[in-house]
Symmetry: C2
Subunit: 137 residues, 2 copies
């Protein structure tokens, strides 16, 4: 055989696995932008208020592609643009993101999380998940 794929996993623990793929300060912000902010272009992500650097963004998009969380295709209406979107594996991150939002909203005194959205998630998690998934088809 050529040579064994350099295996970067630290253990077979599911928490560790998730962190290996998503454990940094930027990756999940891209996922958030797609899930909750209807962003789809490179420039959209770049202009998010947290101010991701362009080299970091390019790196994270590539890693998200390599791990099967995201893909992209040419914008049919605009040849120099690419449309980024989540795969099923990426959409499956929605429940986790919702819990991150609930935790952040609860424990950050100056959170900007809309009260209505938080209430909706608490009251009807599955419904919110279904709605967001459908919107993204």
């Amino acid at each position: 055989m050529p040579h064994p794929a350099k295996d970067c996993r630290r253990s077979d623990c599911p928490v560790s696995f998730t962190l290996d793929l998503l454990g940094d300060k930027w990756t999940l912000l891209v996922v958030r932008d797609i899930l909750f902010k209807d962003k789809k272009f490179y420039g959209d992500f770049l202009s998010s208020e947290e101010g991701i650097a362009t080299n970091i963004l390019a790196d994270r998009l590539e890693k998200l592609d390599q791990t099967g969380i995201l893909t992209w295709e040419k914008d049919p209406n605009h040849g120099s643009k690419y449309i980024y979107h989540l795969t099923e594996k990426g959409l499956d991150l929605l429940p986790m993101l919702l819990e991150m939002i609930l935790w952040g909203a609860k424990h950050d005194p100056q959170t900007a999380a809309p009260r209505k959205f938080i209430q909706a998630v608490k009251k009807n998690r599955e419904g919110v998940i279904r709605e967001i998934r459908e919107k993204l088809r």
Copy 2:
């Protein structure tokens, strides 16, 4: 006034807030160890299979303390040991961790997540949460 507390938050978004506190490869492994593996001593965390370095562990414990997620106290039975445990804010991370586990277990072909546990979480989330919280009192 003295001088404004150097504010490291990138935005008021709850996802960003959560990532500011927990977005790295190690912090949540300590939380995992406490929630699911009954670990409580410095040496326990050090000996986790992912192999955290001692300086990183000390740093993360301090940050978790600063952000009110964890505290510690002297072991009454052993004066050179400290018992680390989660605060309410830390226990509130449980639902998020459970979603990380579900996602990791679903998408990692070689996951070590026990099938029984995954089934229990899927079938009775709230029950599992209650049980684990009670165990940690």
